[in-house]
């Protein structure tokens, strides 16, 4: 009996040991801090863990227009950035998956990846060198006579948008490429043969096939954009009004951990809600999307 029990026991032990790193990662770095933050956000006092249960921190968010204005703006800008990233990434992914063959496809993929070997901060600073008033692009525009004097290209919403799209491209391209690669070329030819035009093939065959990859890419990009701090702050400056900055301010500048924690949870709720709405709208299931992407 022990002879039979022991392999089963050791197998179970083995499974647990193999899962231990992942479980401790989730437990110690995700669940525990979030529980702590949840408790902080539900306390009345600011900073110190005294006082009883209270929703005051959340009430502040709704009472103060500045806060929820930033919140809505962040959500809207993130959604727009996600959509634009999809629009820009789709042709790139199409070329990598369907047009380029063999080595050319590998090189194109590498070209998309190279910027990500550098840290996001450095990349964003690169944009600043290009776009600031004394930077490369404004000088160039003045030199060729398009503008009388160098203009400030930083600190606009469109600058933030460019930075966000640039940062997110790869995360959209990867799932798109993999879902487009699995599309049989014969399906495209068959649709064409049956009388479909290019746009109709895209609408009726390509997009339905690539939908899980598109949804996966959008979820990833939306979450990354919503939680991005460096890009909006550096490229948008004071005008960026990004919600992560509000959280940063609460935690670091004001040392109001309770308020910061409440904001954090609101952002979490927002991203969860947007993802669920997105899945519902595109008729996808989360498991399918993540399995495909």
């Amino acid at each position: 009996m022990t002879g039979r029990a022991r392999p089963a026991l050791s197998r179970r032990l083995g499974t647990w040991l193999l899962m231990a790193p992942a479980l401790s990662w989730i437990g110690l770095l995700i669940v525990l801090p979030h529980a702590e933050l949840a408790m902080l956000s539900l306390k009345a006092g600011s900073g110190a863990p005294q006082g009883g249960f209270s929703l005051a921190q959340y009430r502040t968010f709704f009472d103060e227009p500045e806060y929820w204005h930033t919140f809505v703006r962040t959500a809207w800008m993130s959604a727009l950035a996600t959509f634009l990233t999809l629009c820009f990434a789709f042709p790139v992914a199409w070329v990598i998956a369907k047009v380029a063959k063999g080595r050319a496809a590998a090189w194109l993929f590498l070209a998309c990846m190279i910027p990500f070997w550098i840290s996001e901060t450095v990349r964003t600073l690169g944009w600043m060198i290009l776009l600031r008033q004394s930077g490369v692009l404004p000088m160039l525009l003045t030199r060729i006579g398009l503008t009388a004097a160098p203009v400030e290209l930083l600190y606009h919403d469109s600058t933030i948008m460019i930075g966000l799209i640039y940062t997110s491209m790869l995360f959209m391209i990867v799932p798109l490429v993999s879902s487009l690669q699995s599309l049989d070329d014969a399906l495209i030819e068959a649709a064409y043969d049956l009388g479909a035009s290019g746009p109709t093939v895209l609408r009726t065959i390509v997009i339905p096939h690539a939908a899980p990859g598109m949804t996966a890419g959008c979820i990833i990009v939306f979450m990354l954009t919503l939680g991005n701090y460096i890009t909006p702050t550096l490229l948008g400056g004071k005008n960026s009004e990004w919600f992560t900055e509000q959280i940063y301010t609460q935690f670091i500048t004001r040392f109001n951990w309770g308020q910061g924690a409440a904001f954090g949870f609101l952002l979490l709720a927002l991203s969860t809600a947007m993802v669920l709405v997105g899945l519902r709208l595109s008729g996808q299931r989360f498991a399918d999307v993540m399995g495909r992407g």
Binding site: A186, A196, P208, H209
Partner: protein
């Protein structure tokens, strides 16, 4: 000849240095079943894709239903194609698949549904419209793929080895079904295959393609009994190939001698002079087998052999034997009487054949064949 639904005139297609289709011309009569038969890499798929419009010929013209197709894209051609892997749309139901082409022509929802349902009924899939494609069996998918094309009433239906993905039993069954479908709809079919049995069973006419050219275009019977080239003789149906030298030419009859001294007679199909390198082909069923010399038909040269193995395959049973002088392997079909069911390995037998039913071709001009 009836009006041609498909006319190809000196069609050429090159890929780099490779001449995939080498100045091909042919016609396919309205309502007929035409097969393009050839080994892989012979250019038949390239030819089909040019007819469908996925490739443009470098030279030459393709006309469908009397209209020149140059620069007409696939979605504007009166041609539909059944793809090798069928290419049914997995994101759509069976009915939506069949209605896809109708929707592209701007047919209304009700009309589409009615036509698709009627077409599915005609191919024996009544009521399957709401099923998913992956709920169908291989044969049913095949029929959906054909229905999806035929519902558009094309002038020409192209089929690119559509039976290749099916298992043997189903393939045999679908062969018959395809022939019946074609007869019922009366649409002109152009069928591509490397399987000579499919081409022979299905077609009214077959073009045998090799290295970008047609070696012969004719009825299945023509190809089988009167092959125009050694390639056709070797490719269409089972055949025993014997190469050697023509030692005498008497009218149409050639006397061939192999390098090891075996002599046999065959009817020449191309110009052959004494001394030429030649190859002869003898069908397994053209030869008669006997245990005694006297049992063979009179007037034919008698050849001797030793039984190598008996290949029992019901009606297609045959014996493999070695000709005594040359040790060449010869395949001879066994009669249905079961007369030779007890042949043993090593047994000495006699065989003969009518020289009229053996074909002989000059071996020159075909690379990689003759050994001497």
């Amino acid at each position: 000849m009836q009006q041609a639904d498909l006319t190809a005139t000196s069609v050429v297609k090159r890929f780099g240095d490779h001449l995939a289709v080498d100045s091909i011309s042919f016609e396919v009569a309205r309502g007929s079943f035409f097969s393009i038969l050839g080994p892989s890499g012979c250019g038949k798929t390239t030819l089909l894709r040019m007819i469908a419009g996925f490739l443009e010929p470098d030279q030459g013209e393709i006309a469908i239903g009397g209209l020149n197709m140059r620069a007409v894209p696939p979605n504007r051609r009166p041609v539909n194609m059944v793809f090798q892997q069928l290419a049914l749309f997995p994101m759509m139901s069976v009915g939506e698949n069949v209605a896809y082409g109708l929707a592209r022509r701007g047919a209304g929802r009700a009309e589409r549904a009615a036509k698709a349902a009627a077409m599915l009924e005609r191919v024996g899939l009544a009521g399957a419209a709401d099923k998913r494609v992956d709920q169908l069996s291989g044969g049913q998918r095949q029929r959906v793929a054909i229905a999806r094309s035929l519902v558009l009433e094309p002038t020409l239906l192209l089929l690119d080895e559509p039976l290749g993905a099916l298992d043997l039993k189903l393939r045999e069954h679908m062969k018959i079904e395809l022939k019946q479908l074609q007869a019922e709809f009366g649409t002109t079919f152009v069928y591509i295959t490397h399987d000579q049995s499919e081409a022979l069973v299905l077609s009214d006419r077959v073009g045998v393609m090799n290295r970008g050219r047609f070696e012969q275009i004719g009825s299945p019977q023509d190809l089988y009994y009167r092959p125009a080239s050694a390639f056709v003789a070797g490719f269409v149906g089972d055949n025993n190939r014997i190469e050697g030298r023509a030692v005498a030419v008497d009218g149409a009859t050639v006397t061939l001698e192999t390098a090891d001294g075996w002599r046999l007679h065959a009817r020449r199909e191309t110009a052959v002079a004494a001394g030429d390198a030649v190859e002869a082909f003898v069908r397994p069923e053209a030869a008669t087998l006997a245990r005694e010399r006297a049992q063979l038909p009179p007037g034919q040269s008698v050849h001797e052999g030793v039984v190598d193995s008996l290949l029992f395959d019901g009606a297609k049973s045959a014996v493999l034997l070695r000709e005594s002088r040359s040790r060449r392997e010869i395949r001879i079909a066994l009669p249905q009487t079961g007369q030779f069911a007890d042949l043993r390995h090593g047994e000495a037998v006699f065989f003969s054949f009518d020289p009229e039913r053996a074909t002989c071709f000059a071996a020159a001009g075909r690379g990689g064949n003759g050994r001497g």
